[in-house]
Amino acid sequence: MPGRFVKDVWVTVLVTAVLIWIMPLLIGTYTLTVLVIYGMLGLSLGLIWGFGGILCFGQTAFFGLGAYTYAIAAINIGESTLPMILAILVPAVFAALLGAMMFYGRLTDVYLGVITLVVTLILFKFMNSTAGPQYVIGKARMGGFNGIPGFPTLNVPGDPDTYIWGDPYFYVCAVLLALVFLLVSALLRSSFGRVAVGIRENETRASLMGYDVRARKTVLFAIGAAIAGLAGALFANWAEIVTPSLFSLGQSAEIIIWCIVGGLGTRLGPIVGAAGLAYLKFLLGQQAVVDNTLITGLILVLFVLFLPKGIVPALVGLWKASFGRRPLGRIHQARRMRGGERANG
């Protein structure tokens, strides 16, 4: 359906352009940058969970790996182009290996969740225990709990002395998010994407149709990790420090919340959820009346209870009630219920 994709491209370009123009008038670009980065991270989980049915409790592992890969590579190489590429490749390869191990072992649902969680915990513990001087990769000290500060940040490709930071860095991130969004759109429109949705809906049927479910899930998992890795590298550039907290359970769970609040099975939901909640957290930090953790927790509980499909599907639902058809392959309550039953077996 090339016609519809072309329309997608135009809409995305237009919306991105408008947002890039308007948003900096409302929120500082420095904060906006991280909202964009979180949006990309949310999208990475939204892709594999919402469209591939893979509930990964450790998406942040790839985010952290991307950030660390970038930091370590940048220190050793001294410029940013190759480190950026590595920061995408390393998490992707890691996810491909991990995914192959899980999917070829026919792990599903909760068990998949446990493995991804445990792998994230291992990385977290490992990164935390690298304070000693023996943990060095090339010129880069791993730094343990304190992380790695002071690596070269993004520069214009081929010109290591011209750094991209401040407002230009925001534009770079925003454009990259738009590009990733388009790539995800294209992927979902492609046969691969449609088969992925089919696998999410019914693995057995997909394999009875002749699709190699294990391989396809592994590839999708790796794609998600690549996007998370890119987000991680962008984050490293933004924060100018990487710490093991990137691998923490809290960070991991936050990504899941973004997806739930924004809406699963949509491309926009996780981005909106991520940016919205991260901004909320930022705003909450400026008050001191109620404990912020309490508010975050309450939001999550209320969403699960009263708006389990998330904001974007709810809005789309309102829209669709008056116009047009249902969109392709929305994850549904029934689907999650089946997930529960399967865990029974």
């Binding site: 191990m101 446990v114 493995i115 513990k125 953790t293 508010i295 969403f303 997930g339």
Partner: protein
């Protein structure tokens, strides 16, 4: 020789603590297919309940074994009525909601008690084994874990409630067919599970410095132990706690505590890779 004994006690202690940590989660997961991610916070609140009670002059054992389970059980009851019962059958949603609850409770406890470390001291003195001194409280923890396993087993085997519970574990519609309201069963189960979490938190209270975020240290271990144990409640808990406890202690003694923790996690990954349904999904099928 003395060292060997000390190591043995430490291993048993490690296994016992995993059993205690996992028990509440296992009951709720085994019977209701609900993964309570606020489990760690339930333990944390059990600890706070104990400390508060002790400070109010309650005997420490009463505080640990009676007050804490009751308080946390009641909190669990409220949580079940307000949140969980709307989400039965939706595994992922319950996980997310309980995760939200865990944050909520951390915030709440911080607002009430503040974020300073609190604690009480161990009620049992240490004693000597040859040249070594061991923490006498270790034995209490080991005994508590054994008592807990036997207790759960007895309830399930011999009582009417246990029979209904076993039925509900096999098939959730079975109990309904027998004329028991599943709603009631779930309520009771969640109460028991929460009470067990509270008990575990209470038992650990004299060993640790308690802060509102203490729960985070437990939940991952509990989650891993329960899932790796598989569907059978007692056998699953015992076998996975056994494997993980022993593995982590061996590496802790041989190398370092970090490696011990990492070894536990690696063991979990390998175990689930070989036995995707958990240990008792593979062996001991259908037992308790």
């Amino acid at each position: 020789m003395d060292l060997a004994f000390v190591i043995l006690v430490e291993m048993l202690y490690a296994v016992a603590s995993l059993i205690l940590i996992g028990a509440g989660l296992a009951v709720v997961f085994g019977m209701m297919k609900v993964i309570n991610l606020a489990h760690g916070e339930f333990m944390m609140m059990g600890g706070y309940a104990t400390i508060t009670a002790v400070n109010l002059g309650v005997n420490i054992f009463v505080a640990m074994l009676v007050v804490a389970p009751l308080v946390v059980g009641l909190i669990g009851l409220v949580v079940e009525r307000l949140v969980i019962r709307h989400l039965y059958g939706r595994l992922v949603d319950t996980m997310l909601a309980t995760w939200g609850l865990s944050l909520f409770f951390i915030g709440l406890v911080t607002m009430i008690f503040g974020n300073t470390t609190t604690g009480i001291s161990t009620p049992i003195p240490g004693f000597a084994v040859g040249d070594y001194q061991i923490n006498g409280y270790n034995f209490f923890v080991i005994l508590a874990a054994i008592a807990l396993l036997i207790g759960v087993l007895l309830v399930l085997r011999t009582t009417r409630a246990g029979l209904v519970a076993r039925g509900a574990m096999q098939r959730s519609d079975m109990a309904a067919a027998l004329g028991y309201s599943p709603d009631r069963i779930y309520m009771a189960t969640f109460f028991c599970g929460s009470a067990l979490s509270g008990l575990a938190g209470a038992v650990f209270a004299p060993l640790v410095g308690l802060v509102p975020t203490s729960g985070g240290a437990y939940i991952a271990k509990a989650f891993i132990t329960v899932i790796a144990g598989g569907p059978s409640l007692v056998a699953g808990l015992l076998s996975s706690a056994g494997v993980f406890g022993i593995v982590s202690q061996i590496f802790t003694f041989a190398i370092s505590p970090v490696i011990g923790e990492v070894a536990l996690l690696v063991a979990a990954v390998i175990l689930l890779r070989i036995m995707p349904q958990g240990i008792t999904g593979r062996f001991f099928k259908g037992r308790l």
